[in-house]
Symmetry: C2
Subunit: 773 residues, 2 copies
């Protein structure tokens, strides 16, 4: 289906519809994109940046299956649904969550175990059919065929609402399985509790030893029909010490129970109306969860409607007119970029920080789920264009607040629910803050932010920073993945220098501009690759630029991908490589590398290969744009077509790698519009080529920036010319202020390369060593 083409059948109609040219894309989002393959997105209900991600889990627990494939709980190919839980990452490459799994059970027999997916009826899990599924932003529905229950989900910012329609005259039950979790290694559930309150609210808690160790989460749950009977059951075995009997314990109808393996059974009898279950969570305490529950009024339909409105508004940030499947891919991409960083603070402003203590947000909403190694690249830069300024301010304030509460005194690395996981490398909160600040987004104390950035960049115990500060590079004999760390630190350092310069803290700027050149210390002129050095100065051998191994010189990649990571000074890198021609040849060699004999199946995140370009993981994401830095943007244009066509599809397996909390999607969103933030902090976007006929950014400042493509077709691979507000743009980059001013960027496509546009040194994107602007 191509709804837009139908709606605007003629150019005349198109003109008439201006300026509300482009339809809102709510109907064009397909949350099931990425739920197959290794996209790791979830199909369930979430509000924009919502705290609750209420979504089906098809199989939880690594005791049953290998974890990676179930990072988001749901795999499109699985035959059964185990239940619906309230927390999920959107596209993470490692996982946790799946908290507070709820499953309806109908009839007299209520199994307490999920059972074997291969043996229907062996437990409470149920078969389902994709034909019965509806997945929309903020709404998910499916029929659980075994109990004969229609299950619907919606979510507000801090609540999830379930609606279960049971068969007539069937006794209705809910199971609440606190044993279920994603990445549920044995011993993960440290403690949990269930409580039936006198007013019928069920509350509870869970402390888990997962990706974030000792993470606490609380919930509060209310029902549209009274709970007639309840049982809070412990299925734990071999408890060495049991303590004394609480009141009523013999019957399991206890007011409260705690333990390491709890399942709650709630009996409702036969119901005349669908059963609605409204659930709020909190990282703080049960009182916080109850307050969050009270903060969002209305039942299922009201919440669904409000969240639909919120999504329509959020998605209206970009209006897209593009041929299918691009329109669907792009709206789904936009949707996926608006899920994280998620709201993580309670309605009263309290939140749990990296120190596992409760803090009070003063004038901002605490947000977490920062997958910064991924999202500093394009996700956060995109949010400065498509999310409200307040949301961007809140993210920075949340980062600063997290640093204050950090036992290590540094900014988040990979944080969720306020808790640090120490996943991936770099101090990439730094470029996020710098980019946000450089773009003029306020609402935070810039000097305090800079202090936090400096603290992160100078903390010796972190990731080889002691050596990095002493030697100018991370030493591979003392710290793994030293090559990747060195080049990423150098870029992060450059963003500190940029921000310090703007703040007038020239001593800091000078110091960190110098550090920004540290990539050279990991660059091997002989091989032309970024490599890891030992503390004695020698590069580590043996060296295989195609090897990908954990704990190697590189992080989830090899020399081919990492040797391009000098976003602050690509020109200098190109000189080191021997000039533009050699650089272009090397870029081509990367894309055209014969990888047919390489096997990267041992590496979870390596997918979406084009030669040695690996689109399924982030280190490659900027590489296709680098031809522009070498004065040959027409090669970028061709590569982008190659990547877009091969790496994105409007199908469950349509993402070539983990969406990584929006980064894979943000890449497509930018690329579809025709430009990409190769160097966040530079205030520039490198121009590629558009994949839309027309698109409009309705900017946070109220301005409107339109992209128009003349001659978009598969044949017209190349940009003939670019007009900004009607005037030819002689350069291959766009400035942030040009977007924010509103206006029109027009691309004229053609079948042959324009080899002269963008060739001049002055026309090329920012590089530190050549920058005069």
């Amino acid at each position: 289906m191509n709804r837009l083409r139908t709606r605007f059948a003629s150019v005349a109609a198109l003109a008439l519809a201006m300026p509300m040219l482009l339809a809102n894309g709510y109907e064009d989002v397909d949350p099931r994109i990425g739920t197959g393959g290794e996209g790791h997105t979830f199909p369930g209900a979430v509000a924009p940046f919502g705290m609750v991600q209420l979504s089906p889990d098809t199989d939880t627990g690594c005791e049953i299956r290998e974890c990676y494939g179930h990072a988001a709980g749901y795999r499109y190919d699985d035959p059964t649904i185990q239940g619906f839980s309230h927390t999920h990452f959107s596209g993470a490459g490692h996982s946790d969550l799946g908290d507070f799994l709820v499953m309806p059970v109908a009839g007299e027999t209520v199994p307490l175990e999920p059972g074997d997916p291969k043996q229907p009826g062996s437990g409470y899990r149920s078969r389902f059919s994709h034909a019965d599924e509806i997945a929309q932003p903020g709404y998910y529905a499916v029929t659980l065929t075994d109990p004969g229950v229609r299950a619907e989900m919606t979510a507000g910012t801090r609540v999830g609402v379930h609606r279960y329609t049971f068969g007539k005259n069937k006794a209705a039950h809910l199971l609440l399985d606190l044993r279920s979790s994603l990445y549920n290694y044995p011993g993960k559930i440290l403690w949990s509790s269930l409580r039936m309150r006198p007013d019928g609210t069920v509350t509870g808690s869970r402390t888990t030893r997962g990706w974030a160790a000792g993470r606490q989460l609380y919930f509060a749950m209310r029902f549209s029909a009274p709970v007639k009977r309840h049982a809070f059951i412990s299925t734990e075995k071999d408890v060495k010490y049991k303590g004394f009997q609480a009141p009523g314990r013999g019957s399991d109808a206890v007011a409260e129970r705690s333990g390491q393996a709890l399942v709650g059974r709630l009996d409702f009898g036969t119901l005349d109306a669908p059963l609605e279950v409204k659930v709020a969570i909190s990282s703080v305490d049960e009182a916080g969860a109850i307050a969050n529950l009270d903060s969002e009024s209305g039942g299922f339909d009201a919440v669904r409607s409000a969240t639909r409105g919120a999504w329509e508004k959020a998605l209206s940030a970009v209006e897209i007119d593009a041929p299918e499947p691009m329109r669907r891919n792009l709206y789904t991409a936009l949707y996926h970029t608006l899920i994280a960083p998620s709201v993580a603070g309670d309605v009263d402003g309290r939140y749990r920080g990296p120190d596992n203590a409760v803090h009070q947000a003063d004038g901002f909403t605490f947000r977490s789920t920062f997958s910064l190694w991924d999202t500093f690249r394009a996700e956060h830069p995109l949010l400065t264009l498509v999310a409200p300024e307040q949301a961007n301010s809140d993210m920075v304030r949340s980062l600063i607040a997290s640093r204050k509460a950090s036992p290590d005194g540094i900014l988040p690395v990979w944080q969720f629910h306020g808790r640090e996981t120490w996943t991936m490398i770099g101090y990439h909160a730094v470029p996020v803050i710098a980019d946000t600040y450089m773009k003029g987004i306020g609402g935070f104390d810039a000097n305090e932010a800079l202090d936090a950035m400096i603290a992160s960049a100078t903390y010796d115990p972190y990731g080889g920073l002691g050596d990095y500060q002493k030697l100018g590079y991370v030493a591979i004999d003392r710290e793994p993945e030293a090559a990747s760390k060195t080049v990423e630190y150098a870029y992060d350092d450059w963003t500190i220098a940029r921000m310090a310069e703007k703040l007038g803290r020239t001593d800091v700027a000078k110091r960190f501009y110098a550090r920004a050149g540290n990539w050279r210390n990991s660059f091997d002129p002989k091989t032309g690759f970024v490599r890891a050095r030992k503390s004695d100065g020698a590069f580590r051998t043996p060296f295989d630029p195609t090897a990908i191994n954990y704990g190697s010189d590189y992080t989830e990649g090899n020399a081919w991908q990492y040797s391009w990571f000098v976003p602050q000074d690509q020109a200098a890198l190109f000189r080191a490589l021997g000039g533009d021609a050699k650089t272009v040849a090397k870029l081509d060699a990367m894309f055209e590398y014969d990888n047919s004999k390489l096997d990267y199946s041992h590496a979870e995140d390596i997918a979406g290969l084009i030669g040695q370009y690996i689109h399924g993981n982030e280190p490659s994401h900027h590489v296709a744009y680098l031809y522009a830095h070498a004065g040959q943007p027409w090669r970028t244009q061709a590569r982008l077509k190659q990547i877009v066509d091969s790496q994105y599809k409007p199908t469950p397996d349509g993402l070539s790698g983990n969406d990584d909390l929006g980064q894979m999607s943000a890449w497509l969103m930018f690329t579809g519009l025709g430009f990409y933030p190769v160097t966040p902090g530079s205030l520039e976007y490198v121009i590629g080529r558009p994949f839309v006929d027309r698109a409009a950014l309705n900017l946070p400042n109220g301005k409107r920036f339109t992209v128009v493509t003349d001659g978009l077709s598969n044949a017209n691979l190349y940009v003939g010319k670019v007009l900004l507000n009607g005037r030819p743009l002689p350069r291959t980059y766009l400035r942030h202020d040009e977007i924010m001013a509103g206006g029109e960027l027009r691309f004229v496509m053609q079948a042959t390369p324009n080899r002269s546009w963008g060739k001049a040194a002055s026309a090329r994107p920012y590089s530190m060593s050549t920058a005069k602007r």
Copy 2:
């Protein structure tokens, strides 16, 4: 040594010294009394009702030894000290705590395991000698001979302070072992954490699955010398999922670490001065612990001095002139009655409640460690005479606040650190509140209190209360220990009726006066014993009045002890037994029972036997006084001498049973003064006989009530007469208002019984069925 006798060598000197007649007993307290045998007291440092009980643990962990004997961490006979931890119960019969064990280590080798007590040097534990020990209220010192360290402890209300004097030129270290705990069954440590803060404060937390499941406790710790190096080490094995590396983890010098088996090593280098370590705890969070730490100023000597002052003031509530060892026994008893219920709320008023949530105390200090089955008898009544009115108000307010936060909506049963353990039977917060209220102590909402009491007495899921309310007794086929429960509930009910009557809630009073007669439903006229009935009305058979078994008809006892528990209506019981003569004969039979063939060694709490009278456990505690209710107080007088002489000694094994948070000691304190609260809530004390030459109660209202004994000697077993303010007292009870008015109670002792005093019905203590007053 008999210091008093020396000080007041002549009657003349005695007279001259009036009215500051009696010396403060600080020097006469021996905290080591009860640390041997099964007294389960601790010798370490505690302030009056202090939150921190800083005391040596000689052996922790049931993995090493049987738990019961180490309920307070320290056993006098043990040869080694494992460390010093911050929380201990005083005399509990079940246990937990031992939180945050600290041990000094000297020299280059720092073992991380305590090692085997039988193999000196096999770990960090050390040998010690009692000759080197000093134990005083608020101060404990010992020399750890293996590291050659003098260890001193003191404590303020919310802090403990250690002082370690290391040998010259020996490297000083502290170990902080978060794996150590009392009653440390495998799996008890659910989670723990250690954090080094930038200012050198070490903080941490522990969540344990012990007597109170999921109990959280936090600490903050500062040092008089800088920590030069630290290591936070996890000794956990077989961790299934380890997550990602935190900064500096390779070196263990991490800023923060969490896990299930942590030990911290703090290195101070060689020190010129003793090392002081100040530690605060909090049930709320680390910020609470830090605030508690900040709330008490000064170093070791300042805290020690302030706490000595606090103890001198607290102990001045009773001035005692008695022959040794009674003086020492009594002052130590008084000391032991002033330890619990302990302060459990933070300096900012926050505390953790039975719901495991944090609450704010509004205008009172939250207190916990309520061993109510024990302490409702004499400990709480004593506190109304010897502790400030505010402390008694706080206890009632804490009970009411706990009920509000209780998932079951009822008052505490056996609570510590705000958390319920469901240990023992009854709803004995009820008589504590009623007695406090009847005595005119205010500061709480009496109607709210009564509502809480009614809630506890009518909660069907608790301890067979459903049957009790329906049948008039707890049914043994549905609830264990039904006989004990029935008679204790009936007494508790009577206290509700008393309080309701005074409050003018006559409907409540009528209902609960009726319930107060329910003891009859468990009384078997055929055998003359209280017995358990089944739901069909029949008494359970077979019946053996001497059998003591867990889950039997009785709680830690048998028919002999429980058949006397009708404190609200002993007269009615005596009629049921066939009158005074048969009652007296039965009482004598109890004391004179030939128990030589009985073996109760399987029952932890059964100790201190005189026939079937078991002084080491509470059910017998009022029994010797019951002769007075039968009009033969001279028999009480003789029995008390027998009990006092055999059950209390000024030695480590000087308590015949667990001190039970002051109840064993409160019995001695009252008995020593010559009267005892057989029926809390009656506003009467039954007169026994004194064991002091002279004593004075300096009452909370500022009045002074003096007890004087003429002719105290071993030969003068009997009371000849009793004079209240110079007038003969014709009855065998003393009214609470008579004490509170101040004055003098004079006993004239003689060698032969006075068989006429107290014989008249009107002269006998309160019984509900005969009461006209």
